[in-house]
């Protein structure tokens, strides 16, 4: 070995020993501080647990969607239409081969004789062996095949629970009574939550014809499910069928397309949950930064001593960065372990929204990703307070007054870390949102939230410091003064608790606003019960029946089912085949239910053109009125030509006017409104609008209607309210579950802040007791301080919640914001009580330590 190599080895060994010293020093120095940092670890662990669980959940969902792609559709290919298959369509289907199943579905009333109750349901009449992939999960399992013959039905589990019915009971659909073969638990590719809107009832296809539900104009969807021979690729087949689909007004979907669309929905869900979970990680990071700020203040003297005896600033910094990194790693690993529990619970929590069966598998790459993001964020957050170590002058060891040089705003390292932190947060947001604009929105919202919380906290602190409270009792003055003393943690706690308060209260307020808005429609005189699918020959009898219950018929509206044939001279077939076409397929295939009258309703406002109430000559071009949104969707304006097919008869129209419709009012509103004098001879059905003064009377009328006119369906406001409530409950429960992690992280931050400032409190308590304060007085001071701290945290959180729920109500739901008082009061009391409890719990022993013991240590 040459002398040079030997020298190099010596240098390397020296460097290795110096690195080893850093680890040793970091370990030794952490003695006595480990317990204090334990809760800071807990804060980050909570966030990381939530985050890893969601990341793993996302990975498992993707995997499940991939492996269960075919069972998401239950077939290789499904073709559907809003009209019966024409002979040409049947001929086309016959050429496709493979196994085929037919389904017809429509909306109808279901009547449960046992409980004498009825409800709007979705009837699905099936013929064939669908599903070919996956299974219809029923209870008992045999019901999935039993219902396909005879007069049997399987009914959504939730519906049976609601009406206290079970297998063996009966259900009446239309004019037929079916025996309930079993409960429907899950349908391949459909989320359980879908049943909240329209519970599903499966029956044999042959039986549907006998129910007398199908009349001219009935809204029925016809589907054929195909299991193709192994050698036929469904996507290629669909591609070749494309020209025929336009001609026969069919839509097609393959298993791959369904998997992709389900995957997209699931990605949105997991992205959203990721963002909520990320807030918990951020809070944990803030907790770590805050705990380390207090921790490092206690370490300044140690740093000065190290600097005196020859440690470089970078070495001193490295000691504490190592501690923070290990802290972050332990916190992340504890979080990772905790995430296992969340990972098993999350699929159960979101079960109703998942169209796939979730496997219970460990997604290791996701776990690793979560761990590294957790550690990375901890280090970045920790660097903010730790950078001050570089500025500790060794002179501090000589004289405490020299202290730490204050950052003067030109500390480029500090700016660098801040930039990196903000950059990382934004990068995360961009990755986990669909569009970059949403990412910017998330970052901006986060910035505004943190900014507002900071502003309010500072304002409150300033207010307290300038408040003239000299006449107040001593304990009040001292308790309040503690909120703005040096090294106070008021701001951190306002951020940590305020954010949690904000999230939960905003959810509650939005929920209340939505429900209140819907229930507003139930004001006196407004319609709250609509009977529809009334045939022309039933019109008068239904009205008589309604009147016999003492209800008045507010409106009787005729409806005609029509289809679009051409827009501005171009046929819908042509438009669907066109790649550049921007009009959505549904709008071109939609079966429009339109009405005709001579006047506009009070729910309609004319915004363009002129309303023509009557057409003198039926053969003339008819000026129709379009609802503004549908006009936008169809890309038409005043004067544009539209040709409709009115049950085989083409009618040429022109857009004569545009209307704005208040859809939130319970009225039979329509997209397309015809003037009187055109549609009167067309086959039509009727809608009857009434108001039932009580839910009981409403139910009684519906029962009577279903029994006497089985084809007539009813929808009442109570049902709408119940449905919205059920959906909102389920959605907010999932969001609330994730928001709870933010609250838990906030509580951890609170507890860790209380414990890290414990030494300071003990010193103060001892000094006060030495000067003659009683233990009761010191306890009062603590209660007052924590009470105000809780209030300080709750107030900006609540203000933000009001702001956010107002914005959501106004801009997203277009409803008037309802400031509910109860969630407000509950949140305020809860946060204050929580803060006082955590504060007093963490301050145990502060008033009982013997003063001499502490003073001796201080001297």
């Amino acid at each position: 070995m040459s002398a040079r190599e030997s020298g190099q080895r010596t240098v390397n060994a020296g460097q290795a020993r110096r690195v080893l010293w850093l680890w040793k020093m970091a370990w030794r120095d952490s003695r006595g501080g480990r317990k204090r940092l334990l809760l800071a670890i807990a804060a980050i662990s909570v966030g990381v647990a939530a985050f890893i669980a969601i990341t793993a959940f996302d990975a498992n969902v993707r995997d499940a969607v991939h492996t269960q792609a075919k069972s998401l559709l239950g077939a290789d290919l499904v073709l559907s239409s809003r009209q019966p298959f024409a002979p040409e369509t049947e001929a086309l289907l016959a050429t496709l081969g493979g196994e085929q199943s037919r389904e017809m579905s429509c909306t109808s009333m279901a009547y449960f004789p046992k409980s004498a109750a009825s409800r709007l349901v979705q009837v699905r009449a099936l013929e064939g062996s669908f599903p070919y992939y996956g299974t219809l999960e029923t209870e008992p399992p045999s019901a999935a095949s039993a219902f396909r013959t005879g007069l049997q039905a399987v009914v959504d589990d939730g519906l049976l629970l609601q009406f206290d019915a079970q297998a063996g009971d009966t259900i009446k659909i239309g004019t037929l009574t079916f025996s309930i073969a079993g409960r429907l638990k899950k349908i391949p590719g459909e989320a359980v939550a879908a049943a909240l809107i329209k519970p599903r009832v499966y029956m044999p296809l042959a039986a549907l014809q006998q129910t007398e539900l199908l009349h001219k104009g009935s809204m029925v969807t016809y589907k054929v499910y195909l299991k193709l021979p192994a050698e036929v690729d469904a996507d290629t087949l669909l591609e070749t069928l494309h020209p025929h689909l336009s001609t026969y007004r069919l839509t097609g979907e393959t298993a791959r397309q369904r998997a992709a669309s389900v995957g997209r929905v699931m990605t949105h869900l997991s992205r959203f949950l990721h963002l909520v979970g990320f807030i918990a990680v951020l809070l944990g990071g803030i907790g770590v930064a805050s705990a380390l700020q207090v921790y490092i203040k206690d370490k300044l003297n140690t740093v000065a001593i190290l600097r005196c005896i020859g440690a470089r600033a970078s070495q001193a910094l490295a000691v504490y960065v190592l501690q923070a990194t290990v802290l972050g790693a332990i916190g992340a690993m504890v979080g990772g372990a905790g995430s296992l529990a969340v990972q098993t619970y999350l699929p159960r929590l979101l079960h109703d929204f998942l169209p796939v069966t979730m496997p219970l598998a460990m997604a290791w790459p996701a776990v690793l990703r979560g761990l590294s993001i957790g550690v990375g964020l901890v280090v970045l957050f920790a660097l903010l307070p730790l950078l001050s170590v570089r500025r500790v002058t060794p002179l501090l060891a000589l004289r405490a007054a020299y202290g730490e040089r204050q950052p003067d705003g030109r500390d480029l390292w500090r700016w660098g870390v801040l930039l990196l932190l903000v950059g990382s947060i934004c990068a995360f947001a961009f990755i986990h949102t669909e569009r970059w604009t949403y990412g910017v929105g998330f970052c901006a919202a986060l910035g505004v939230t943190f900014g507002l919380l900071t502003m309010v906290a500072k304002l409150l602190m300033r207010l307290v410091s300038t408040l003239s409270i000299s006449a107040w009792p001593y304990v009040w003055r001292q308790g309040l003064a503690n909120l703005h003393r040096p090294q106070n943690q008021t701001l951190v706690l306002v951020l940590a608790l305020g954010l949690g308060t904000f999230l939960l209260t905003a959810l509650s307020l939005t929920q209340q606003t939505l429900l209140h808005h819907v229930s507003l429609a139930n004001t006196s005189g407004q319609p709250n019960l609509i009977l529809f699918d009334i045939q022309s020959d039933q019109r008068d009898n239904v009205a008589t029946l309604v009147r016999s219950y003492g209800l008045s018929v507010l409106q009787q509206v005729p409806f005609v089912t029509i289809r679009l044939v051409s827009i501005k001279g171009r046929s819908t077939v042509e438009l669907r085949a066109e790649k550049q076409n921007k009009i959505p397929e549904w709008a071109l295939l939609w079966e429009y239910r339109v009405t005709y009258r001579e006047h506009l309703l009070d729910t309609e406002t004319l915004i363009a053109g002129a309303w023509q109430s009557h057409v003198a000559h039926p053969d003339a071009v008819v000026p129709v009125s379009l609802e503004e949104e549908i006009a936008h969707t169809l890309d038409v304006g005043l004067g544009d030509a539209l040709i409709f097919d009115v049950q085989g008869v083409p009618i040429t129209t022109t857009v004569g006017s545009l209307r704005r419709v208040d859809w939130q009012r319970m009225q039979p509103n329509v997209f397309v409104l015809f003037p009187a004098g055109v549609l009167e001879p067309a086959p039509q059905f009727h809608v009857l609008v009434t108001r039932a003064p009580s839910p009981d009377l409403s139910a009684a009328v519906q029962r009577a209607v279903v029994q006497q006119f089985p084809n007539v369906s009813a929808i009442d406001l109570t049902l709408i309210l119940q449905t919205i409530d059920a959906i909102v409950q389920k959605v907010t429960f999932a969001i609330r579950f994730m928001a709870l992690f933010s609250i838990a992280a906030g509580v951890m931050v609170l507890t860790s802040v209380v414990l890290t400032s414990r030494a300071q409190r003990i010193r103060e308590s001892v000094l006060l007791r030495t000067l003659g304060a009683s233990r009761a007085q010191i306890r009062q001071i603590l209660v007052i301080e924590y009470l105000f701290l809780g209030a300080f945290a709750a107030v900006p959180g609540l203000l933000l919640a009001v702001l956010a729920s107002w914005a959501l109500a106004t801009f997203l739901f277009e409803a008037a914001f309802v400031p509910a008082v109860l969630p407000f009061v509950v949140a305020f009391l809860l946060v204050s009580a929580l803060t006082v409890s955590a504060g007093m719990l963490g301050s145990r022993g502060v008033t009982t330590r013997p003063p001499l013991d502490v003073l001796r240590r201080e001297m």
């Binding site: 020993r17 006595g32 190290l306 020859g310 470089r312 002058t393 060794p394 000589l398």
Partner: protein, 249 residues
């Protein structure tokens, strides 16, 4: 024959700028210390003693003037170079002991040479702690030691890196008379054994009298300097001290 000074202070002034204006603490201080000598800086409170000590040790930079330590002009060195210089040539003893509270006595003593990557840090530290009479208290934390014991640990830490110069800031300021006497004896014994230059700041007249040179400060200026001591012959060095430089280092 005049030896090369280990510390040379030339026209050093220090002024602190505060919100209330400029506060001159040291004014045109010049002196030099020969290697292996002892010197006491005395003066009333606020006369600038500790500030001078800090400047001489490279803990702070003078507003004007120049400090040269072991041939290195401190004003030319970066913060990191100053740290290396302190680790190599300088030892400290403080009035408030300044032990790291989370480290045991042994670990406190080891730190300076561990920083250099010395493999034998533990052996040397145990050896030195035994010499200062704390062989039984190696694993005690500072809070478990008396003031005198803490200062002895601080002395062991100061001498473990075999500094060329030791700065002691009121080393007996927090101790009772009896303990002070013991610590001072130990300090001088270690100084003699290692041949370390000793510069100590003190209020204690008796302690100052034990040094070879006394510099008196008042109002930030030297008002009295007893001058450099006559050079000793090597044969006059005493060897009974516990801090004698080990032969293998």
């Amino acid at each position: 024959m005049q030896t090369t000074p280990i510390l040379d202070v030339q026209h050093v002034s220090k002024t602190y700028h505060t919100g209330a204006g400029s506060l001159p603490v040291l004014k045109d201080i010049s002196f030099s210390l020969a290697a292996g000598t002892t010197c006491a800086i005395v003066g009333p409170s606020g006369s600038g003693k500790t500030t001078l000590l800090g400047l001489c040790a490279g803990l702070d930079r003078p507003s004007s003037g120049m400090v040269t330590l072991h041939g290195h002009s401190l004003h030319l060195l970066s913060e990191d170079a100053l740290a290396t210089l302190r680790n190599t040539y300088v030892g400290f003893v403080f009035q408030t002991f300044q032990l790291i509270p989370t480290l045991t006595a042994l670990e406190n003593v080891m730190v300076p040479i561990e920083l250099r990557g010395d493999r034998q840090a533990r052996t040397h530290a145990i050896d030195l702690l035994q010499r200062v009479g704390l062989g039984e208290r190696l694993l005690h934390y500072p809070v478990q030691l008396s003031g005198g014991e803490q200062q002895r640990v601080a002395l062991a830490r100061a001498f473990i890196s075999q500094p060329r110069i030791l700065y002691a800031d009121e080393p007996t300021g927090n101790l009772d008379a009896e303990t002070s006497e013991m610590v001072i004896q130990l300090l001088f014994a270690l100084h003699r054994g290692a041949g370390t230059t000793l510069m100590l700041v003190t209020h204690d007249h008796d302690v100052a009298q034990q040094t070879q040179r006394i510099i008196r400060l008042k109002g930030g200026m030297i008002v009295e300097d007893s001058g450099p001591p006559p050079r000793r012959s090597p044969g006059e060095q005493e060897h009974e001290c516990p801090g004698e430089r080990p032969a293998n280092r």
